[in-house]
């Protein structure tokens, strides 16, 4: 057969070889069908480890207690002991190295997340002491009267 008939075939073969070569270089070796089968588990296996290595920002109460056990005592006995430290004090990140100091949220907006009075008959919200935020000393911060670590009104 003539050369002009074969030429397109070589071009196609070249293209196929090129694509296969590109795929060999570009697609990582651990990409393929993993544990959950082809439908749900077709992925790059190394990504699972990448997600496991994602840096955590929040520690937990026991991490805070390691240094601040004096502060923890008063709070532990109060009704607010169910609230984790970091909810108000901010996520620990690399504290005490970086950041050296955490920014405490003392705002009224934080307190009324739970203590704004709403009628929610089928939820735990109704069991929490609530205020009408516009009526109850509207211009002052809650922490000026209430101690967040010991919110009991008897001890005020």
């Amino acid at each position: 057969m003539k050369n002009h008939v074969w030429r397109p075939l070589f071009v196609v073969l070249g293209l196929v070889a090129g694509i296969l070569l590109f795929r060999l270089v570009y697609v990582p070796a651990d990409f393929g069908t993993q544990e959950q089968g082809y439908t749900f588990g077709f992925h790059r296996l190394g990504n699972e480890q990448e997600w496991k290595d994602y840096p955590a920002k929040y520690k937990n109460n026991s991490y805070c207690t390691e240094c601040h056990d004096d502060k923890v005592k008063s709070w532990e006995a109060s009704a607010h002991a169910i609230i984790p430290c970091e909810n108000c004090h901010g996520a620990a990140f690399g504290h005490p190295d970086k950041p050296e100091k955490l920014t405490i949220d003392r705002s009224r907006d934080l307190c009324i997340r739970c203590h704004a009075k709403l009628l929610m008959p089928s939820s735990g919200r109704n069991k929490i002491a609530g205020i009408d935020s516009e009526q109850h000393n509207a211009k002052t911060e809650c922490v000026e009267c209430h101690n967040p670590h010991n919110p009991s009104l008897e001890d005020m």
């Binding site: 496991k52 955590a56 996520a91 997340r113 939820s123 919200r125």
Partner: protein, 257 residues
């Protein structure tokens, strides 16, 4: 070789090959393990305990680097208010990032609405997050293999592999996927995979003062979540889609979608 011998040998060879192939398939240990693994993450939400403070939403956003000001979130809390006239009102201002602090219900374009206390019959909060479905629709539609299910049942997105086509965002019946404004890829709840795989708690469950959110191993009969799923009256969201969700709810109403 005689014609008779040829046919005989062929029949023996073909049947021998097909048997050994199917036998290999049956005893593949990987497949056996995948069908019944020792670890299967599940989540339990108690809607009676949720007070709508939104600490979970804030903790999730900070933990997973989702910009606080962006109107996307991996988890959110909805408020349901039902009235004596049979109406169900649902609102969720900014995913409840700042909690529910007002009686005014956010009706989006029609503005804010106040339902008088004496009109309210039921009112409660429903936290939502990725259901980490057993047969996730979002994974099936991914054209590049960027989203997948791990062996312990968590659906993750490979950020290096995602092309941002958005099929998965459309495919999820629960609307838990969104486009990450900084990473420029599809994003979703990972059950805090970096925390739970090191023995920790998810950021949202840890931030919840009331224990409304719990994560656990559904394969461990002594796990509190597995026990509750087994013994209590729990429900899942939108079971009609056949995605087999693994987030279970205590106190679910038929009005909750």
């Amino acid at each position: 070789m005689k014609r008779r011998d040829f046919l005989k040998n062929t029949a023996v060879f073909v049947s021998g090959v097909s048997i050994s192939l199917s036998a290999l398939e049956f005893i593949d240990p990987k497949e056996l393990l995948a069908a019944n693994p020792k670890l299967r993450w599940g989540f339990l939400v108690n809607t009676y305990k949720c007070v709508g403070c939104g600490f979970c939403v804030k903790a999730c956003k900070i933990e997973n680097d989702i910009p606080l000001e962006a109107h996307v979130t991996r988890t959110w809390v909805e408020r349901y208010v039902m009235t004596k006239s049979g109406e169900t009102i649902r609102d969720c201002p900014n995913g409840a990032l700042a909690g529910y602090t007002s009686k005014l219900l956010d009706e989006n374009a029609s503005g804010m609405r106040l339902v008088p206390d004496e009109e309210i019959t039921q009112a409660f909060f429903v936290p939502k997050l990725c259901n980490q479905c057993s047969t996730p629709a979002c994974v099936q539609v991914c054209p590049v293999g960027a989203t997948y299910q791990t062996g312990d049942g968590v659906v993750l997105v490979d950020r290096k592999w995602c092309i941002g086509c958005g099929y998965c965002i459309m495919g999820c019946p629960y609307g838990v996927r969104f486009f990450h404004p900084i990473e420029r890829v599809a994003d979703k709840c990972t059950f805090c995979y970096h925390r739970i795989s090191k023995g920790g708690n998810t950021a949202c469950a840890q931030a919840c003062p009331f224990g409304a959110r719990q994560i656990g191993n559904l394969r461990d009969p002594n796990d509190p979540v597995a026990k509750a799923v087994m013994n209590e009256r729990v429900g899942v969201l939108r079971s009609e889609y056949g995605t087999k969700p693994n987030v279970y709810y205590i106190g679910l109403n038929e009005e909750v979608r």
